[in-house]
């Protein structure tokens, strides 16, 4: 399973490195969203800092949506989806590989976006180790749920519009937990670092559920979608 996961992740990341869709389209999109939020709330920079964590995670979620759509667009060309099924690769391995590739791209994006938040929203970055843990957990949840729903939507003609409808509601708990935990760590609201732990635990639970569900369900979904 892990050999297959590494193979699929390597393939997806190599395609991204060659096509540069992530760097030329997803990354600028994410920064554009951050800047538009800044324009919309510029009248009150204090408010901008207060809601920075929520805006950061909304931006990551929208970018994650693009990354997932891109991940399954790779398998749509010239029957490549059949190729993935025919390859004989383990379904769980394919899931972990595709989710891993999406997660790797999102983590890089999050680092760059965090720098953007510091500059644009005037936020002091602290508790970086804690923030890194939140990012890893939330990214695992976003990538796992996105990969499962990407497989569900991939076989449909209305996949571009259906995927957000499936993907965004399921990730509401992840968004909520990641935003609240990040706020507590950054101290942008009245909460303290200790208040972050319950949210991190919730984040861990949801991410584990999404990853476990994907490992079990992705193979059959790929067959039937």
């Amino acid at each position: 399973m892990f050999r297959d996961a590494v193979l699929v992740a390597g393939k997806d990341l190599r395609i991204e490195a060659r096509s540069r869709v992530a760097t030329n389209q997803v990354l600028p999109f994410a920064f554009l969203v951050l800047i538009l939020f800044a324009f919309a709330l510029d009248a009150d920079r204090g408010q901008l800092a207060t809601v920075a964590a929520g805006l950061f995670w909304v931006t990551v979620l929208f970018s994650g949506l693009l990354a997932v759509q891109r991940s399954f667009a790779l398998e749509a060309g010239d029957d490549a989806r059949d190729a993935l099924r025919l390859s004989g690769l383990d379904g769980a391995g394919i899931f972990l590989g595709k989710a891993g590739a999406v997660a790797a791209q999102l983590l890089v994006l999050e680092v760059l976006l965090a720098a953007g938040v510091v500059v644009l929203y005037d936020v002091d970055l602290r508790g970086t180790a804690f923030l890194a843990l939140i990012c890893v957990l939330a990214t695992a949840g976003i990538a796992a749920a996105g990969t499962v729903y990407g497989a569900v939507a991939a076989g449909l003609r209305v996949r571009e519009t259906l995927l957000p409808l499936l993907f965004l509601p399921v990730l509401a708990p992840v968004l909520l937990a990641a935003a609240r935990a990040s706020e507590a760590v950054l101290g942008t609201t009245s909460t303290t670092m200790a208040d972050a732990w319950p949210w991190v635990r919730l984040l861990g639970v949801f991410s584990t559920i999404y990853v476990a569900f994907g490992v079990v369900a992705f193979g059959p979904l790929l067959e039937e979608a």
Binding site: L7, K11, R18, G77, D79, L86, G88, G91
Partner: protein, 239 residues
């Protein structure tokens, strides 16, 4: 080349379908297929458009479900687990099953490793299909239709399958490519692989095949192997 011995039901079988039914929506694309393919055979599937040749090949690959009847490929029961057989087969279909953004070398390396073969098998396939050299590092998207077809065939070769499923394999290939394809298929069969070939180019495919069957209306005519006649015995001598 001497004619191959006629395969019989006594030979080990790579593909065995009995009354196999497969639906595309509600339409029975395979409507009770009876088919045997002996190991090492090259079976040509003839038939008009829409007869079910492609569906039959896809069913052998486990891409299309069998809703009733029996279907066994390389000893794997497809009605129970369609995925078990896939590492052991190679399908050259209407699509190329390639990733456009990846180079020829990357695609073949992925095809080989996905089948559990070393990456070197991808390089060997590239060499065999004449793709080494200037095409090596080109993205597949930049190749002509014929070159893409060659890469798709190389991806099948790289997998070293036990069962080759070839759907209109000569399409888009130039004369040299067609000769090369025929040579590769004969080599594979000589090495023990089984080949199912669906083609409308009957002149060429007929020379390649060791047996022929016709697909009509989702059924296969002449799909079963002949029952081997018992070896002749010397008449018992009466003392």
């Amino acid at each position: 080349m001497p004619p191959a011995a006629m395969p019989t039901a006594a030979m080990p079988v790579a593909v065995r379908f009995r009354a196999a039914v497969s639906l595309l929506g509600r339409f029975p694309a395979l409507a009770g297929v009876d088919l045997d393919v002996a190991r090492g055979e090259i079976l040509l599937l003839k038939g008009p458009n829409g007869a079910g040749k492609t569906t039959l090949l896809r069913a052998c690959a486990g891409l299309v479900g069998i809703v009733s009847g029996e279907a066994e490929v390389l000893g794997c029961d497809l009605t129970r687990d369609r995925r078990a057989v896939r590492r052991r087969i190679g399908l050259l279909g209407h699509g190329t099953f390639l990733y456009d953004e990846l180079t020829v070398a990357d695609n073949l390396r992925f095809a080989a490793r996905a089948a559990g073969r070393p990456a070197a098998d991808g390089a060997a396939a590239m060499e065999r299909l004449g793709l080494a050299g200037r095409l090596h590092d080109l993205p597949v998207a930049k190749l002509s239709a014929g070159q893409r077809r060659r890469v798709a065939l190389a991806a099948v070769v790289a997998r070293r399958p036990e069962l080759w499923l070839l759907d209109e394999p000569h399409a888009s290939l130039d004369a040299a490519g067609r000769d090369l394809l025929d040579a590769i298929v004969r080599e594979a069969a000589a090495a023990g692989a089984t080949v199912l070939l669906a083609s409308h180019e009957l002149d060429r495919a007929d020379h390649l095949a060791t047996r022929r069957a016709t697909v009509v209306g989702g059924q296969v005519q002449d799909g079963l192997l002949a029952v081997a006649s018992p070896p002749e015995r010397e008449p018992a001598r009466v003392p």
